[in-house]
Structures are given as structure tokens and as C-alpha cells.
Point group: C2
Chain length 224, copies 2
């Protein structure tokens, strides 16, 4: 059972490291961090991870998981990455993503007509790829499983663990990682955070999101 997580510079590291912690504890699973190049990957805020393999040498995966983050923008028109995603998706049991990783699945042409999740701030952009944007924390549509923003990847990792190894194995992993979350505040979604805080965040990221939307439009225009 081979699970590959696609990582890249300026990814949100928790998009990858959250599910990694659940995946790695699945009995019989091997988790590979896959990057375009073999050099260390520098995530947002500088956390630096050494990948296990690259696009070319990555074996056939049972599960492909694409992380998200601001670095997604650099992948949306990257044919080498998109071709890798398409190729793996053909034979994978599940093709998956966390956070804005679903934009990469969209750019690879895998979301047409599918329900898919994403980080709330970029969720509407999925429509450009023909997807049906879903505000769920875990969205499941056939072979496609997509998680919402960042920390959704932990819920998603346990969900995948159950799919692959059964409910008891997944519950055992949950016990090992003591996942009985107790957020100190209630602000994990725009609704919980309220209009004012959400607006402040959206305004601060306006320029970045506009650049992303332009890339998404170009990527969508290239789809057959």
C-alpha cells in the first residue's frame, strides 16, 4: 500500500504533515513525500522537508494526495506536475487533496462534474474547472476525495485510514494521536469567525487571490 503526498515550495506544511501522521500509522502503508525535484522543499514560513522521491521515480501510488498552500499557484500551469497527477490518478484507488491542493486536481482536469472541497477562501475557484464546490470538510465523489482547508487534513487522514484498513484501525490511530480536539475559540469557518474577521482576512489577501484567480482561469482554458 503506497501513499504519495505531492509537496512543493510554499506549500502549507500542515496540509501534508497532518494527513502524513494518520497515513503513516496505517498498518502496511508506506508514505512517500513526492516533489518535482529531489532538493529540500521549503514550505510557507520556511519549514523545510526532504522529499523521498520525485515525479519521475515515484512508483504507482494507491493513494495520491496533493497538498495546498500559496505554492499551488506555481503548479497550475506546470505540465510536468499536471501530467504526473493525471498519470497517477488513472491507476490510484483514490486521488485526493487537502486544502487548495484541489485546484491542482482541477488544473489536471480531474474535477469536471465532481463535488470537491477546498480551503474556504479559494473554494469558489473550483467552479472554473467544472467542479461543484463543496464546503464540506471531507468531500467524497467516486474515486475523488478532497478535504477542506489545512486542518481538515487530519479528519481526512483518519477517514482514509478507515477506508483502507477499517474502522477499528482508524480509531486506534485516532487514540494514538489523541485526536479529541478542543479548539480554544470558535473561528474555524467564516460563519464561526463572523463577517468582520473574515472580511479583514479576505482584504489582506485580495491581491494574492486575484493573481490565483487569473492563473486558475488560464489553467481552465487549457483543459480539453
Amino acid at each position: 500500500m503506497k501513499i504519495g503526498i505531492l509537496i512543493f515550495d510554499e506549500m502549507t506544511q500542515l496540509d501534508a504533515t497532518g494527513p502524513f501522521e494518520a497515513f503513516a500509522r496505517i498498518p502496511g502503508a508506506t508514505v512517500l513525500l513526492v516533489a518535482k525535484h529531489r532538493r529540500p522543499v521549503v514550505a510557507q514560513f520556511g519549514l523545510t522537508v526532504i522529499p523521498n522521491t520525485d515525479l519521475r521515480y515515484c512508483p504507482k501510488l494507491d493513494i495520491l494526495c496533493v497538498a495546498g498552500g500559496s505554492g499551488v499557484n506555481d503548479l497550475l500551469l506546470d505540465d510536468e506536475v499536471l501530467e504526473f497527477v493525471r498519470r497517477q490518478a488513472k491507476t490510484a484507488k483514490y486521488t485526493t487533496s487537502v486544502c487548495t491542493g484541489s485546484l491542482v486536481l482541477g488544473a489536471a482536469g480531474l474535477l469536471r462534474g465532481k463535488r470537491a472541497a477546498c480551503h474556504w477562501a479559494s473554494l469558489p475557484m473550483l467552479a472554473a474547472f467544472g467542479a461543484k464546490p463543496s464546503a464540506k470538510r471531507i468531500e467524497h465523489d467516486g474515486k475523488l476525495i478532497t478535504a477542506g482547508g489545512v486542518t481538515s487534513g487530519i479528519d481526512f487522514g483518519l477517514w482514509i485510514a478507515a477506508k483502507l484498513a477499517g474502522r477499528t484501525a482508524a480509531r486506534r490511530i485516532q487514540l494514538m494521536i489523541q485526536y479529541d480536539p478542543k479548539p480554544p475559540f470558535r473561528a474555524g469557518t467564516p460563519r464561526q469567525a463572523g463577517a468582520r474577521l473574515t472580511r479583514a482576512h479576505v482584504r489582506k489577501n485580495e491581491e494574492f487571490q486575484a493573481a490565483r484567480a487569473a492563473l486558475v482561469a488560464r489553467a481552465a482554458a487549457r483543459l480539453p
Copy 2:
């Protein structure tokens, strides 16, 4: 504002990467991954991270956070590491840990008479260091803040963000990382998981935990 996370081989990577994601988003904060040596740190299950600095060159930290994991066993009698922890704790605003990182704080002599949290499976061992074991997800006793097992580090990271930058900043970080957890199962504590699953886990780790208990006893015997 300098926040240092002590990382080491065979740590549980999510103990470090969970709080990192919250810490790094605190306005004005710099997060350093500190290791005994500058070479890459290989966490449990092989995830490999490049540290930013080492014990010797690490600047004075405002917050020290010690990660946990099976590699904690190698630190309990390591004078270089324990001396680093003691030195930083003298001037830090908060000395903190996630998961079994609190055993390292105990071995450094910082827990005597203090309430402290830990991963549930190793929690009773804190008593050897004179601590009052606490089953809370975040325990706060003076300058000491300790989190429970693995994923507690995310709740803890947001809690620290609020302490350092205020409640609004922390809530904004929670919104950014979309932290509205929805665990697919209810098995995050021994009580939730039930006696059978908990016993299965404990039995499988009996040998490791016995070795750890012996190291804890030796570390405790060395305290002045």
C-alpha cells in the same frame, strides 16, 4: 518574538508541525526549529526536516516548545539537551511542550510541584519528576504550558497565539487554518476509545513503555 521548537530524531512530527503552523502565523513571530545537531532530523515514519539552528547557536527564546515522540527516550539522560532546556527556561516567557515532550521538561527538573500534561499513555510517568500529571489537553501552571498527546499541539498553538498576540489574532489564525475539527470517529482518548482498543494499544507498546519508564526513573534519580 522568537519561538523555538526543539526537534529530534524519532520525534512525532505532528507534535512540532501542528503548533508550528499556528506559531508561524503570529504577527511578528519567528519560529526556529532547534536540533542538537544541524543535520536533518528524521522523525518517526521517516519524515525528514532540516533544523534552523542547533543548541549552541540558538538565540534566547521567548517561547521554548519541546516536541514529543519515541525519540524522547534518547533525550532523558542527555546533559547537553537538558542543560539547553534549563538555560532557555530561565529567561523564556513560557516553557512549553507537546505530547511526551513534557518528560524532557521533567528530566530537566522543571516540573517539580507543577501540573503538567502529556500523551495519555505516558502521563503517569510525570509523577517521577515530582509533577502533578494532568489529563487536560492544555495545562497551564505559571510559566509552564504543556499540551497532551500529538494533536493537542494545534489547540495549544492557538492558545499560545492568543497569549502572545491577543484573542482576535488567534481567531484569525484559526480561520486561516480552517480549524473547525470534525473527527470522523470518537476515539481520541482512552475513555472514548474504550477499554478494549486502549488495552490493545497498551499491550503492543508494553516493551517500549517499560524501557521508557526505566529511563524516566534514572533521569529522576539524577535530579538534585
